[in-house]
């Protein structure tokens, strides 16, 4: 591994569970690696790890984050190199239930070491606002807040934004974590009919900049079924394109925002089956 990098730490967080943090971490991580960046994705969900499964590396886990923190394994031993993307690495979470093993000093040390070896360190936060979630965001330079256009998800995202502004290292130094809103599981036709909060509604309520809109799609489910991020498994699908655009925006590129639109025919509109 080449030394001397100064990687950026990004936390993928949401407060609420099941909104797509792990899927988004895998998709964004794979997209970054595909674009030539050297990436490590870290699973902070101690006891309920899943990033390994979504990345198709579940049978290759030997050591994990806790082992590295406890000194049982060296960091390079615990990193799992993706078989498809040469620049993508995974640091899995432990399946043991001992969440206290995740110490603040230990995490700080691991992150500091990873910064010297990778361009991007993407931290997949567990749901909730407990230790795992606060440690995942602790060292973040930027945050991707994954939100579904739904009341409980928006409320929890607001809470997480509050934590990012107070409990992170950057916040304590008087700086600000760059916050990006990633809207997932968006149903254009539901929003168009006023059945679902619209993009504008969510943006107005949370007032942080939008980094991407991922439409609800069977491709996302298919990708996790086969253990391959959607950006790798179906790179031309609508969700993969949206993840690639979000990735480029994260890198600082100016990409026009594409709002997924209603793509159902007149027949379906009138006699409608749910197209998605």
């Amino acid at each position: 591994m080449s030394e001397g990098k100064s990687g950026r730490v990004v936390v993928v967080t949401s407060g609420k569970g099941g909104v797509g943090k792990t899927t988004s971490t895998a998709s964004l991580g794979a997209a970054l690696a595909h674009l030539g960046e050297k990436v490590v994705v870290i699973d902070f969900d101690v006891g309920l790890r899943n990033l390994d499964l979504v990345l198709g590396a579940e049978r290759r886990v030997v050591f994990d984050l806790i082992n590295v923190i406890n000194g049982v394994a060296k960091l390079p031993q615990a990193l799992i190199k993706d078989k498809r993307l040469e620049h993508l690495f995974l640091l899995p979470a432990s399946q043991t239930r001992d969440k206290d093993a995740l110490t603040e000093e230990g995490v700080a040390k691991v992150i500091a070491e990873l910064r010297t070896k990778f361009d991007w360190i993407v931290c997949d936060s567990p749901a909730g606002i407990e230790r795992g979630a606060t440690l995942a965001m602790r060292h973040a330079d930027s945050a991707i807040i994954v939100t579904n256009p739904e009341v409980s998800s928006v409320r929890d995202s607001d809470r997480i934004i509050g934590l990012l502004d107070s409990k992170t290292e950057k916040a304590e130094r008087g700086e600000c974590v760059d916050k990006h809103l990633l809207i997932t599981r968006y149903h254009p036709w539901r929003a168009a009919r006023g059945e679902m909060l619209s993009i504008d509604d969510v943006l107005e309520i949370l007032s942080i900049p939008l980094i991407g809109i991922i439409p609800e799609s069977e491709e996302v489910l298919r990708a996790s079924n086969v253990g391959s991020p959607v950006t790798l498994n179906a790179p031309l699908s609508a969700p993969a394109k949206a993840y690639f655009d979000a990735t480029k925006r994260l890198k600082g590129e100016q990409i026009p925002m594409h709002i997924p639109s209603e793509s159902r025919g007149l027949f379906n509109k009138l006699f409608g089956r749910k197209a998605a």
Binding site: V151, R155, D158, R193, E195, L197, S198
Partner: protein, 112 residues
Amino acid sequence: MNLLSLFRRGSAPVARERLQILLAHERETRSQPDLLGVLREEILAVIARHVAFDPDKVQITMDRGSTVSTLAVDIEIPNRRRASGAASQQLSQLAFTAKTATARSQWTNGLV
């Protein structure tokens, strides 16, 4: 689902309005302690210093509105005027209502 839905307004505007009210409140109280909660504890402590009451007979209701929130504390206090009398125990009730205008964070309260 179909033509019928054209005549029915979506529920998204309701979701949006509820969130705006809720988050305005939560953002304001995020940094400070739970004002209504603190007030509730302190009111009960003051009453308990002077009269004995059954903690189970305390009704506390709270209503958070967009501009005004209400905390109502109803305390049932047993009257022991004549401990010797057979049907001596009467009940009186003490009720407090506290209101806060969330927008200005100022308190006005009154005895009901």
